[in-house]
Symmetry: C2
């Protein structure tokens, strides 16, 4: 491949991506505003640019947080290659990059630790990479990125920015709020000493830096509100179950469907199918929980959907 | 030690306890109503009784679920030794065993998997074992059990049944309800495919068997209601933060205290102190999040409290 790929921002995600691209033989160059991070990446054997001036790349992955994006775009001047990003909320980035040649992305992976020091070339294998397909997205650009990310082992899920933001509100942003509320509601010393496994896991993401939680939940406020209201409705049902004449039976009935649903997660891949690329079919694939496994050529992709459970 | 210890019920907790007692050289005998489990325990080199008739033990640990307790007590006939249990809610057991020589217990440890096959002699090391100290508890009996469990590496926390049930409602039972609600609120295929680490951990205990969740939450309904209401209050604050003019700043302000609190957990042990045994001091120790580390003799124990953070 003679495609030149650039990665701007070498934290956990950008650093891991540059490592993965390098390990897979791509022509990849990184950049970070912090000289120490640049030095660390260079020492790790990666190619690093020392300025954004005269930035040359066919594809540039913007791997910086949302608040840092405007400055990076300024720094890129009249760069006119393909842009993608890794921000966990897609609508604000779509608005910010309107008019640019851009496809939004969001690798659904990470660690509690951040920074280049924790980056890992294997971060993306078997992990989901949401890739935004809007009405005005160039299908060729979308496929080029899908080819790149599936080549690193990722499951590329086609999705619109609105649907993405609604889904991650429920499965990522609201869990951070629940973790925070659990911590807020159990602060006395006896509780903290008796707390064990269910507290540990239920509150794990409460160690996420408050700025990140604020950017996720606050930057996706409409969708988070809706998802939080669904959780609140469900908790009110649980509350009503406790209030009834037979709390044990009522709690069991309330909980059992969740038990079934959670036991069937994570989703297991069904059989691979090779299909002709089509914008409508791609969006339907994502809505069904499916993903692109391989980009075969400009017209054919191999896809997978979640395995249906035997009833 | 010539004290004869019996363990009735050889599931995960009872089986692990019998293994730990055996490994520590105690005179310990187990029993399980299921012949297959008895055989498995015998094959593991443990001593197992094949009937409860003529049960002889100075201390008997009832390691069966609450619904199975009445039948076991029937089977024990006129047994008059010391009884303790491992049920995760203490008030119903206290009521059931009223008039017996009994000290309630609750080892705060476990695994997602249950049954003797998953039992482990090391399950109790550095884990909390709540041990109930009521107004009518014999202090000598309490100390004998504290000596036994601290000898297996556990941190024995003195606590009344009411205070225990209120605390575990917040740190154990309510987390199960939150996990269930998170699952209930994210069932569509796209959400399930995009779900990653924060969903995985926030919903982990939703794979707990519904009967167990019902027994915990439904069997402790008053305390769970109170703890759940505190969580609901906190989530309504988060909801209000999302509704305000600056959701990002408001979410950050709401989340930050939880971030500090969770980063200071698990509690770190402060210095050991040897003190004279006293009922009031023991309960104060538990209320401060402290625990018995060693029982030195009938009058002296070594205790630890959570390390205070440097301000």
């Amino acid at each position: 491949m003679s495609v030149r790929i650039g990665v701007i921002g070498l934290g956990l995600i950008g650093g891991s991506l540059l490592r993965a691209l390098h390990a897979n033989g791509h022509d990849a160059t990184g950049y970070d505003a912090d000289p120490t991070t640049r030095l660390a990446a260079t020492s790790a054997g990666l190619r690093v640019a020392h300025t954004l001036d005269h930035w040359r790349a066919d594809v540039t992955v913007l791997a910086v947080p949302l608040p840092a994006l405007p400055a990076v775009l300024d720094g890129l001047g009249d760069y006119d290659g393909l842009l993608t990003d890794v921000v966990s909320v897609k609508r604000p980035v779509r608005d910010l990059l309107a008019g640019r040649r851009y496809v939004g992305g969001h690798p659904m992976t990470g660690k509690e630790s951040s920074g280049f020091a924790h980056s890992d070339a294997d971060l993306f294998g078997h992990q989901v990479w949401a890739l935004c397909l809007e009405g005005d997205t160039d299908l060729g650009d979308w496929l080029d990125l899908a080819r790149l990310f599936t080549g690193l082992g990722a499951r590329v899920v086609p999705v619109g920015a609105d649907a993405h933001d609604a889904a991650v509100a429920a499965v990522s942003h609201v869990p951070h709020l629940l973790a925070g509320a659990l911590v807020h509601a159990a602060t006395d010393p006896l509780q903290r000493t008796l707390a064990a496994g269910s507290y540990r896991d239920g509150t794990r993401v409460a160690v996420t830096r408050p700025e990140l939680v604020a950017a996720m939940a606050g930057g996706n406020a409409d969708a988070v509100r809706e998802a939080l209201d669904r959780v609140l409705d469900s908790l009110r049902e649980a509350r009503a179950a406790l209030d009834g004449p037979d709390p044990q039976a009522a709690v069991r009935d309330w909980f059992t469907p969740a038990w079934h649903t959670r036991r069937a997660w994570p989703v297991r891949p069904g059989p691979a199918q090779t299909v002709v690329v089509d914008r409508t079919a791609l969006l339907a694939l994502g809505a069904e929980g499916g993903w692109v496994h391989t980009v075969e050529d400009d017209r054919h992709i191999t896809v997978m959907r979640p395995q249906l459970r035997v009833p």
